[in-house]
């Protein structure tokens, strides 16, 4: 039963249904975030009169902000409300009669987006390799790229479980989308999506190690850039898996409690 293949194919068709939107969002969002971040850091480097700050040169910073927007999309997917919306309108009923786990189904639809953006990352990197490699001396190779994409997929799995945990709150509360937005803020800021974590004060980094955030964004980005050692990557995978199991337990617990609240008629 390769049901997940059918689900993935269906999701890809959905993504590509509005092609102009898709390309504008992909190219537009990535370019916008890249140029704004580069302009900001260029200004900082010029003010400081230095070529390196906290292990980053300006070309490395540019590369960092090229990877971050796509990485963040791999992580956060497209759908705020991918479970809660259906709980609210009562269409969640259909999953209860499907001969498969609703959470597996949702995870596959979610990870299809992640995989799709992973392909975008590979595409962008290939363009980057051919056009800018001479001006950007980094350790980045295709091996690092694939390692990074794989790590992003693992972190997306952890993230989707975190998101599910919040989405299931819809069984008790109205309009929980704001909580998902909060999760995005936290992940982006404390994961190093806004500023590389190397710029955070040491005490903050020491605290963040005990949260999943640095492993969700910063580690995969640095892996793509070829800045993570094998030990760091292995440790990162172990930590992400531990968090995933933890969140999976919470989701199961919550679903067992919450399904008694589900009326099936929507609100």
């Amino acid at each position: 039963m390769n049901w997940w293949r059918h689900v993935m194919a269906m999701e890809i068709r959905k993504i590509l249904a509005y092609r102009s939107d898709f390309w504008i969002i992909f190219l537009g969002q990535t370019a916008v975030q890249l140029v704004i971040a580069t302009a900001l850091w260029k200004s900082i480097f010029e003010t400081q009169g230095t070529i390196q700050m906290n292990g980053f040169t300006l070309p490395m910073m540019t590369l960092y902000y090229l990877i971050v927007p796509i990485g963040m999309r791999m992580l956060t997917g497209e759908n705020i409300g991918f479970i809660s919306r259906e709980i609210y309108d009562g269409s969640f009923n259909r999953y209860l009669i499907y001969p498969l786990s609703v959470f597996q189904y949702k995870a596959v639809t979610y990870l299809t987006y992640s995989l799709f953006y992973g392909v975008q990352l590979i595409l962008l990197f290939s363009i980057y390799q051919f056009t800018m490699i001479d001006v950007t001396p980094t350790l980045m190779t295709f091996v690092h790229l694939f390692e990074g994409v794989a790590l992003f997929l693992i972190s997306a799995t952890t993230y989707v479980l975190m998101a599910m945990l919040i989405e299931l709150l819809a069984l008790w509360a109205d309009n929980i989308w704001t909580l998902v937005v909060m999760l995005r803020f936290f992940t982006s800021f404390f994961g190093g999506g806004f500023i590389p974590l190397a710029f955070f004060p040491l005490w903050a980094r020491e605290i963040l190690v005990f949260t999943p955030f640095p492993y969700l964004v910063s580690l995969p980005v640095r892996t793509v850039m070829g800045q993570s050692s094998s030990i760091e990557i292995t440790l990162g995978i172990v930590v992400l898996l531990c968090w995933s199991f933890f969140f999976m337990g919470c989701v199961t617990l919550m679903w067992n409690k919450g399904q008694k609240n589900y009326s099936g008629v929507g609100i």
Binding site: S20, V32, A39, K42, I44, Q48, A173, T178, F186, F199
Partner: protein
Amino acid sequence: MKRYIRLYFHFLRFSFSKAMEFRLDFSFRIIMDIIYYTVNILFFKVIYLHTPMLAGWNENQMMIFVSGYLLVDAINMTIFSTNMWWLPYYINKGELDYYLIRPVSPLFFLSLKEFSANSFLNLMMAIGFFTYSLNQYTGPFDTLDIFLYVLFLLNGSMIYFCTQMLMILPVFWTHSARGFVDLFYSLGLAMERPDRIYKGWLRVLFTFILPFAVIASFPARFFLEPFDWKLFVHTAVVTVFIWSLMLFVWKKGLQNYSSASS
């Protein structure tokens, strides 16, 4: 005019009673905006750990700018955001008819119908942070400077609204679900950075074509620096141009509106 003011007060009443129906959501939204403000402030705090100046401003001056754009964001979240969220759906699903047959301006109705009562509390918080930043600011300023700063920020809110509309209105032609709204949110980042970081073509882009840098950065410069006539004329020209452009596209969009859903 009186009729429109009266109508707006009706919108306010309905919005507040609607917001109170979902009390938990009401609280969640307040927390979400608090986190958004905190993240924005922390962003610049972290940057100033590594540099004493950014785009010619020290941390104290930067907080004046940050409080300015948070105020613009809060104004837009409160007054326009919910309406902007639904507009592409109305156009796409052919539900605009309902608004076109009413005896009031459809643009007025669709832009201002939903007042975000939960964000109103956040607007109060943004005003609080704005006041705090002014209190902490050590440079010279008087009441007129504050008045002008607020006035330019309100003008910035209008530019923000027009730009957002210009990103939504292509839905009339593309029939997509969201238009270019997601792109708009990414572009919004340009408002949250001082305009002096933009050089060359990027400066032309963000001060003329997509004037995000004019929204909050120019007003902050009016407050923090000696009055610059060139900057004033620039702001005025951009405001008039973007407002006219938005009205033009809106009218063209309505002409193209088929009323059939997509």
